[in-house]
Symmetry: C2
Subunit: 253 residues, 2 copies
DNA sequence: CAGTATAAATCAATCGATTGATTAATACTG
DNA sequence: CAGTATTAATCAATCGATTGATTTATACTG
């Protein structure tokens, strides 16, 4: 038995590198539902169940308020499986960040990539509007999205590895794409302070209605935030986007 | 030993009712720095130190991630003093909410109360603008305000007694006052959905730049968020307010 | 295909450390 | 001295992590 046992034991899978989308042109079916064909390793069930349960609990109660026993119980898994699959609670948090970033990227990525406004400002504006409206639907509407959003937002305030990853994988790309649209719609430089900050101010509104939805609902006299209430919010958001474009449209010169 | 020991023990001071601003026309010096004159009970030093330390730690690390020992140590107080003064960790959280609500109310309350735009839309708009600009300065600028804001925002997501109190003491009043101004500026009904949601969308932008300041700074290439960067944000926010008023101004009719 | 060896994954049980809370004794103050 | 306030010490409970054993799935061999 050698004494220089530097590596912990036998390196459980996926504690140091990314877990999903392992290589460049990987089979995209891995992150999705249930790959019954090829790369369905037996432990992936537990992996996914743990991540799903953790995102929900982290979003609802916060990271520190959620115990590993709670997560394992919600995922119908054993307590030790967290350490086995993710190296520990922090590894699970990171895996949740990857999962969230990957899922959102899978939804919003193709839309932003395939949508080419050319040089048509009106088309760019309508693209911007539809993206923001989709964001609002996602953040305010679906119950599963609430957990994801709450998890991301809880990680947004505290700097760390999770924030780095979410930023690189999601925020940077999406924000830059939106700046392209808004810049084209207004005729401004997409990377100007006005457009970059303006884009933040627009998406910030959507985010706020998720964070403060309890306060908003109370002030509005809403018992729940259903489709009708979401439409009311979206109506104002849409007006704000158009007001921004109108107010900041560069005169032809 | 009696068996029907319903009341916990001997009811330490201030676990059930409000502690600060006990009556209506209370001396406003109590919440402020150091009342060396009259109602300075000996234990108030520890009380205030605990609340201050707790707000800072709750804001920075979150409620659940902050231990009572950490708070007591930061406040140079004994661990048991938390239970003595506030009945427990949850009581301290509630006292923090009271303190925050009281302090903000003391700052923003008189401004909103004494400012009477009459029926001048232009005056109402400039009032709205200055209030939002002050909010931005407070939330983005001062370091002490960051803890307060972070504490409030961390409590905003999870319903509970703290949220109730903050809402009643702060959000409801301020939001209604802002709606008056925005309604007058646009000529719309201050309690219409448009104005109420629109007001949320405006203050939501300010809040977002506090929550997402790490992401914003990274995307903008800012190393720190100093006065220059705050001015850049405020410039866009000001433009958004004016764009909202312009876009939603009711034609005289 | 049968039989064995290896690896991956799950399991119950337990570890030391830390949590919030509580106690009894002491110090301060008017 | 009486009441308020602070202190050190201790409580049961729970935390994240780890262990060794066990089960399950895959690979190898003849």
């Amino acid at each position: 038995m050698p004494s220089s046992n530097d590596t912990p034991k036998e390196e459980p899978p996926g504690i140091s590198s990314r877990d999903q989308a392992p290589s460049g042109a990987a089979p995209s079916a891995q992150a999705a539902g249930r790959g019954s064909t090829d790369p369905a390793r037996p432990g992936d069930d537990t992996r996914l169940a743990l991540i799903t349960a953790a995102i929900g609990l982290f979003g609802k109660k916060g990271f520190d308020a959620t115990s590993t026993r709670e997560i394992a119980s919600a995922a119908n898994a054993n307590l030790a499986s967290i350490a086995y699959h993710f190296g520990g609670k922090d590894g699970l948090r990171l895996a949740c960040a990857d999962s969230v970033a990957g899922r959102i990227q899978a939804v919003v990525g193709p839309v932003l990539r395939d949508f080419d406004p050319g040089d048509d400002p009106a088309l760019a504006q309508s693209g911007m509007e539809s993206v923001v409206m989709s964001m609002a639907d996602f953040l305010l509407g679906r119950a599963e999205a609430r957990d994801i959003a709450a998890f991301v937002l809880s990680e947004m305030t505290k700097p760390g590895v999770v924030l780095d990853r979410i930023y690189e994988d999601f925020f940077k790309t999406v924000h830059a794409a939106l700046c392209r649209l808004l810049g084209l719609a207004t005729g401004q430089d997409p990377e100007s302070d006005l457009i970059r900050i303006g884009t933040f101010s627009i998406v910030g509104q959507v985010v706020y209605f998720r964070i403060g939805h309890a306060i908003v609902a109370r002030r509005m006299g809403w018992e729940t935030v259903g489709p009708v209430e979401i439409d009311a919010i979206k109506s104002v958001l849409l007006g704000n986007i158009r007001a921004f474009v109108t107010a900041n449209r560069k005169t032809s010169k």
